[in-house]
Symmetry: C2
Subunit: 425 residues, 2 copies
C-alpha cells in the first residue's frame, strides 16, 4: 500500500475529493412547498410582487396625515375628526383629508391620504362614537405627534418586486417555507435526492434479519450509512453483501455506479478486502483512487475516489470508522451534489473531563457523552464532555455518544478541564 | 388583559405549561428500523445476546496462547507452529495447543485454545507455507509478547446480554439504527408522531394559493408552524383560516382538540382577535389559560393553555413572532409528548458586529446572519453575527437569518465584539 506513505489530513482529503467532482448536475424536481422542508432549492426564487403589497399598520390606533399631528403633546393635544374604521382584509371606502383620522387595527391597510398611525395609547375619544349610516363619527384627541411612515410597513419593506428572496442552493427551513407561501408559491423546484449506492463486503457479514453462526456478524454499515445518507439529503440504495471475491464485487460496484450518483463500499475487516476495494475503484473509471489512507483516527484506511465523474468511497469495515468517516466524507459529497450553499455547523461547547492525548499530525475524533453541569455559567460550562473509551469497532460506543470531539492535526491532545467543541451526531 | 400585569419570562412560562401536561400518553407504533431515523423509542431496547457473540481479533496476525509469547523480543524471538488459517465467517476447525498459532484476519473468530493475537508486523515466516491437505504448515517467528486478551474483543465487550442498550425516549440516529441491526432487531416500537392542529385566524388572511385583494395577506403561519411541527417530530393538521367570529373559532378549536394532541391558534393581527383566542382557550376545557403574555420580544402576546390535558397555544399573528415562539414553546411540547429524553442543543458561537440593547427583565430573540471570519482562530471567532434589523412581521428577516441570538432576561444587551451563542433555525 504505497499510498499509505503520504497520509493526507481529512480536510485536505475532502477538498481533493470535492475538487474532482463535477459541478452539481442533479436534476431538479417540483414539489409542493409544504412537502419541501429540508430540500435544496434548484433555482433562485424571485419575488413576483413586493411584500407587503400595500402599506400596513403595525399597531392598533388611528390612521392620520402625520403633518396634522405635529406639535401634539399631553398638555396640548391635537383634535382630529374620526371619519370611519378601516375594515380588516379590505381597502377603506374613504380617504383621509386634512384634520381627519380613521380607526385602524394591526395589519390593516392604510387608507388613502394617511401616511402614519398614532397608537391607541396616545389617543382619547372626546365624544361618544355614533353609528351614522354604518360609519363612525367622533372627535379624537391625539397626545403625541408621529412622523411620516411611523407605525407603518411600507410597500416592499419586506421584499421588493423582482428581488431574489431565496437563492439557489438554500436548504428550505420553516422560515423559507413561510416566505414562499407569502409570495404565493405553492410549488418549488428542488434538487432531487442524491442516490447513494451502498455495498457491504466481507465473507463474515450477513443480513441483520439472519441469526449469525459462530464467526459471522450482522451488516451494520449499510444501515448506519443509509441513515446518514437519508439525514444528509440522499436516498440509500442497498446492493447487499458481497463476499471477498474481486470480480463479483467489481460487477456490483459497476452496476451501482450506473444507477447511483455516489457509491460507497464498506470493506470487510481483513486487509485483503480493503485492498480489493481500492483495486475495484482503480478499474471502475478515471481518475480512480484519489486518496488512499487518511491521517485520522478512526478511519485511516478510508479510500476516496472518483470514477467517471462520480464519487466512489471505500470505508473501513469497522462500524465506528465507517460512520465517523461517513460524517467526514459522505455527507459533504451529498451536500455538494445537491448544490447546497455552505452553512455554519452547530456544535456544543463542553468541559473535557480527562486528558486526551493525540499524535501530532493526526486528526482524532473521539465519541463523547455530554453531561449537563447544572452550576455551569460561562460558555462551555453547561456541559462536561466525557470521552467513551472502547475499541473503535464497538457500535454502541457511538450509540452512547452525544457527539464527536475533534482533536485537530496541529494539537497533541487536550487537557482535563479544557473547553472543547463537540459536533453532535 | 389583567394577565399582562405579571409577564413571565419564557423559561418559567414553558415550565408552567409542561408541568400541566400529563405524562406522555402518545401510543407507540411499530416501524422497520431502516425507516425509523429521527423517531423516539417507546420502550427500552434490551440486548437479546451479547455483542460480539464470539471473541474477535481487531488486527491481522496470528492467534496464539499469550503465555507462549512471553519474553519474545526482536533479538530473542519465539517460534510457533502455524497449524492453519481461521476462515472468515466461521469457527476454525482446529484448536490452538501449546507452541501453536493460526493465521487470523481482522474480525475473525478466535480459535479454541487461543487467547490473544500477535500483529502481523511483529512476526515473520521462517519457512515456505506449504498447502498440505488444505491446511497451512510453517514456523512463525514472534518478536513481541502479547498479554492475555490483547488485540481481541471479548464476548460482550460492546454490550452484555440483557443490558438496556437504547433507553426509552431515545431519538434514533444513524448510530442507534446500526446498534439495533447489530442485535438483529429489524423493527422497533416508537412513539407515533404528535398530531398538531393548526388554526389561523384573521379576516384579512387568505390561502397562499389565492391572489390577495388590497388589504389581504396570505396565510404564512400555518405553513411555517407546520414545517416546525414536522421538524420537531409531529404531523401538522391544518384546519384552515377563520374570520374574527368567536363561535366559529371556538367550534374549530373544539374539533381540533378532539382530533389532535396539541392545538395552535395563530391570532389575527388585531387586538380583538388576540383576546378572542384567550377566551376560546378559557371555554375549551380546564384549566384553560395558564400564561397570558410573556416577557419576551418578539412574542409578548403569546398565550399558553392546557384544556383537558392537551396543550392549546395561542401565538401572535405576525409571522416572525409566531415562528420564534413556535421554537420556544411548540417544539418543547412535542418533545415532551413524544417522551424524548432531553438532549444538548447545538449552537454556533460568533462575534457580535454591533451593540444590541435590551430591556432588563425581558428576553429578546434577534434574527442574525452568520458570516464566516476566515481569520478567526479562537472559539466564537469563526463567525460574525450580524443582527437583521426589521419589523418583526417581515417573514424574510427570518428567512435571511441563520439563527436566533438570545439576550437573557438578566442582561441589558450585548456589546459589539462580544462572543455570543446563536441557536440555528
Amino acid at each position: 500500500m504505497p499510498e499509505f506513505l503520504t497520509l493526507l489530513p481529512p480536510d485536505q482529503a475532502r477538498e481533493k475529493l470535492l475538487a474532482h467532482l463535477p459541478p452539481p448536475t442533479i436534476d431538479p424536481e417540483s414539489l409542493t412547498v409544504d412537502s419541501a422542508l429540508g430540500r435544496v432549492t434548484a433555482e433562485d426564487i424571485v419575488a413576483p410582487h413586493p411584500l407587503p403589497e400595500f402599506p400596513r399598520t403595525t399597531v392598533d390606533g388611528y390612521a392620520v396625515r402625520a403633518q396634522d399631528t405635529f406639535g401634539a403633546t399631553d398638555s396640548l393635544p391635537t383634535y382630529l375628526n374620526l371619519i370611519g374604521e378601516v375594515p380588516m382584509g379590505d381597502s377603506a371606502p374613504f380617504e383621509i383629508g386634512a384634520g381627519q383620522c380613521a380607526m385602524i387595527h394591526t395589519g390593516g391597510m392604510l387608507p388613502q391620504g394617511a401616511d402614519a398611525v398614532v397608537m391607541l395609547e396616545y389617543t382619547q375619544q372626546t365624544s361618544e362614537i355614533s353609528k351614522d349610516f354604518g360609519s363612525l363619527s367622533a372627535e379624537i384627541e391625539i397626545f403625541k405627534s408621529v412622523a411620516d411612515g411611523e407605525n407603518v410597513i411600507r410597500i416592499g419593506e419586506d421584499v421588493a418586486q423582482d428581488q431574489v428572496v431565496i437563492p439557489k442552493g438554500t436548504i428550505l427551513r420553516p422560515a423559507e417555507i413561510g416566505g414562499l407561501m407569502a409570495l404565493g408559491f405553492t410549488s418549488v423546484r428542488v434538487a432531487r435526492k442524491v442516490k447513494v449506492g451502498l455495498i457491504s463486503t466481507g465473507d463474515e457479514v450477513i443480513e441483520p434479519s439472519q441469526r449469525p453462526r459462530p464467526g459471522q456478524v450482522r451488516d451494520i454499515n449499510s444501515y448506519t450509512l443509509g441513515a446518514l445518507v437519508e439525514k444528509s439529503g440522499g436516498v440509500a440504495v442497498r446492493y447487499g453483501i458481497f463476499g471477498d471475491q474481486f470480480e463479483v464485487l467489481k460487477e456490483a460496484a459497476a452496476k451501482a455506479l450506473t444507477e447511483c450518483d455516489v457509491v460507497i463500499v464498506t470493506a470487510g475487516s481483513s486487509a485483503s478486502t480493503r485492498d480489493m476495494t481500492a483495486e475495484v475503484i482503480r478499474q471502475l473509471g478515471e481518475p480512480g483512487v484519489l486518496v488512499h489512507g487518511i491521517n485520522t483516527r478512526p478511519g485511516k484506511p478510508t479510500i476516496l475516489g472518483v470514477c467517471n465523474g462520480r464519487a466512489v468511497i471505500g470505508l473501513p469495515g469497522n462500524p465506528v470508522s465507517a460512520l465517523v468517516n461517513g460524517y467526514l466524507f459522505v455527507a459533504p459529497v451529498i451536500e455538494k451534489l445537491l448544490g447546497a450553499l455552505p452553512k455554519p455547523k452547530a456544535t456544543v461547547l463542553a468541559k473535557l473531563t480527562v486528558n486526551l492525548a493525540s499524535q501530532a499530525g493526526r486528526e482524532d475524533w473521539w465519541p463523547v457523552k455530554l453531561l449537563p453541569s447544572p452550576h455551569g455559567r460561562g460558555q462551555g460550562e453547561g456541559f462536561s464532555a466525557d470521552p467513551i473509551f472502547g475499541k473503535s469497532n464497538l457500535i454502541f460506543t457511538l450509540a452512547n455518544a452525544d457527539g464527536l470531539l475533534r482533536i485537530p492535526p496541529d494539537a497533541t491532545g487536550f487537557g482535563a478541564g479544557e473547553i472543547v467543541e463537540v459536533m453532535l451526531i
